[in-house]
Amino acid sequence: MSHGITKLQRWLDLVAYLANRRFPVAVEDLRENIPAYSLDPDATEKEKESSRRKFERDKDELRDLGIPIETVDYSIGSSGEQQKGYRLTRKNFHLPYLKLVNEASGGTRAGSSPSHFEIRESEVEAALGGLREIASLPGFPLASHARSAFRKLAFDLEPTVLRDSPVLFAPDAEAESTADALVILSQAVRERKTVTFHYHAMTRDAQADRSVRPFGLLFQHGHWYVVGHDERRSAIRMFRVGRMRDVQRNEAAAGTPDFTVPDDFRLEAYGGRKAWELGEDEEGPVRTTVLFRFPRALWAERNRHGELVEDMPDGSQLRAFEVRRRDPFLRWVLSLAGDATVRSPTSLRDEFRALAARVAQQHREATDG
């Protein structure tokens, strides 16, 4: 009877049938009314089992897609006999009507109910604008989910509420080329599964296979990173996804986490770190001061580069940094193109001047030799 019925058609029939029933439905009922599960009167045990498995698979897959099919025990007639059935209540299945409430009045929050949901314009802008921005993030692995959430939340709203966003995310070739790896990694992060990949460590120019327990995904400076426990080094490390090849998630023991994330792990602590804050020189960390000239001092203050040590009468500022790696720090100060100079300690100031002298010497030489 079910020959030629596609999976989509089976799913449509199952959802339609359950969504139109107020009471739980037994498997036998589904067999009678949904062609894909129906059986001939003389069906063998094997055919019955096959039909049952098909329904179980469909139910589980639909649940994975977010369709809240409930399994419930209910009693039949006056006998009180208990039976297992399935239910898809409209309250849990359908989106309530979204109702925009007056911003000034703040709305009547208590008015949200199973049939409607009150939301302010500022909340709409935050939710829809946030979803639109997240979906635009180069390579974001949940972009399609962000877009579908946007469509749902925007369904009942007037087009005038859905203003175009004046924000544009420039396309990023690296982030976009890592989209497939990011999907694997984001699943592994959510399901707590170990991943393996081939990695190119640029600083050491070394390539090796890595096995990592991924604790989180971080997007910064236009790149995606995995932060996790590197089993080889037995320590938490950051890996740039664009430098990974052949990313694989552990498929063994599906549905069972491979690890737990330490309670004291905070993903946000790994965001915004500068090159000179990562790793450590042999000499150990050094506290250094840098003089930022006016108006660059305004920029340093506004972007919280270092800590303020002293405001100078001419508007310049002396700011302090904790430097773990000297070379990237000195190059960063150099890149400020004369708007900043290292003041202390003397050893670092001398290193900075020596670096500047080398660059000056290099640019004095003829380029054709």
């Binding site: 809240p68 946030g130 004046p166 924000v167 420039a170 305004l298 920029w299 190059r331 640019h363």
Partner: protein, 326 residues
């Protein structure tokens, strides 16, 4: 999966198409296709599957399910259990949690506690299944966090409301910060930095301003209009923002010690590099702001050398010599 033909993708599309087409005026096939990033013909194929179910009337389908496809518009009558969108799914909730936490738009609800309450309300009333938004904690979007950037919020608000904005701009190498009145047309995020592409009333032309160099910003009540021919994409080249569509070509040599980083970027972006004997590489940059290429070269210390034109080499000499006089 990528061709949009798996049952899951098609069901997800129908969960949007059927409610939209159940509206009194129906829905535009082109608009549906655009929203769902597919083609009108694919949507028609999906609807054909639904039509087949209505024809056979398996359990659950209303007897009078009707689908009208009239050229550009589609209308559905009696969609049964498919007349409303379905609730927000677990991964959609994760996306919303991230959108409410790590974006510029999130600042419309300024207090983080209010954002958390909004997410809780959405989970309680709009989301299917168990709350899952805590899974968003496994993502961090550092560059677009809302709390640090009130100046960006001010410019964003001015851009959204199309009101002019007074800014104080600390341009590198300048002696004083400059006060400008701009018409912020758009904000652009590129390679870890925010920019606004804006009409500068002083210059009388569209310019690009790096947001991290704007030290003060204040919206005014004066409205502006965006020219019909303005396209923010005109200010992008290979994902990078340019200050003007025109500019100089500057050749920079990178030593063997840093060349691998340049090659890595070139591989992604499709840049052309000249490989040199010994392992160094030379790249030609499209430069609108001379100080940009000076700063860029200095970031590599003595591992990068501006080769030509000569005036750019001279600029590096001048800048570095100034440092040695301190």
């Amino acid at each position: 999966m990528a061709d949009g033909t798996t049952a899951a993708i098609r069901l997800d599309r129908l969960f949007h198409v059927l409610p939209a087409a159940s509206a009194e005026e129906g829905a535009s096939l082109t608009e549906l296709a655009s929203a769902l990033e597919t083609t009108p013909s694919r949507i028609v194929e999906d609807l054909t599957e639904v039509g087949a179910r209505g024809y056979y009337h398996p359990g659950g389908w209303p007897d009078d399910l009707q689908i009208f496809i009239d050229g550009e518009r589609v209308r559905v009558f009696n969609a049964g259990g498919f007349g409303r969108p379905v609730q927000v799914g677990p991964l959609e909730t994760v996306a919303l949690a991230l959108g409410l936490r790590g974006t510029t738009a999130a600042a419309h609800v300024k207090d983080p506690e209010d954002r958390r309450k909004l997410l809780s309300r959405v989970e309680e009333h709009l989301a299917a299944g168990e709350p899952r938004s805590e899974a968003a904690d496994t993502f961090e979007v550092h560059d677009v966090e809302a709390d640090e950037g009130w100046i960006r919020q001010e410019i964003l608000a001015a851009a959204r409301d199309r009101h002019t904005c007074a800014i104080v701009y600390a341009k590198p190498g300048a002696d004083d910060p400059r006060v400008r009145v701009i018409h912020p047309y758009t904000l652009v995020y590129s390679q870890g930095a925010w920019y606004t592409v804006a009409f500068c009333t002083r210059r009388g032309e569209v310019r690009v301003f790096r947001v991290d160099r704007i030290t003060e910003a204040c919206r005014t009540d004066q409205a502006f209009a965006i020219p019909a021919d303005f396209r923010p994409e005109d200010f992008l080249e290979a994902g990078r923002v340019y200050h003007t569509p025109s500019g100089d070509r500057v050749r920079v040599r990178y030593s063997p010690r840093v060349a691998r980083w340049i090659r890595e970027r070139a591989d992604f972006e499709g840049w052309t590099l000249d490989e040199e004997p010994g392992g160094s590489v030379v790249m030609e940059h499209h430069v609108a702001d001379p100080l940009w290429v000076v700063s860029h070269a200095l970031e590599y210390g003595a591992e990068a050398e501006v080769l030509e034109p000569e005036e750019y080499r001279a600029l590096v000499r001048e800048v570095v010599s100034g440092m040695l006089k301190d």
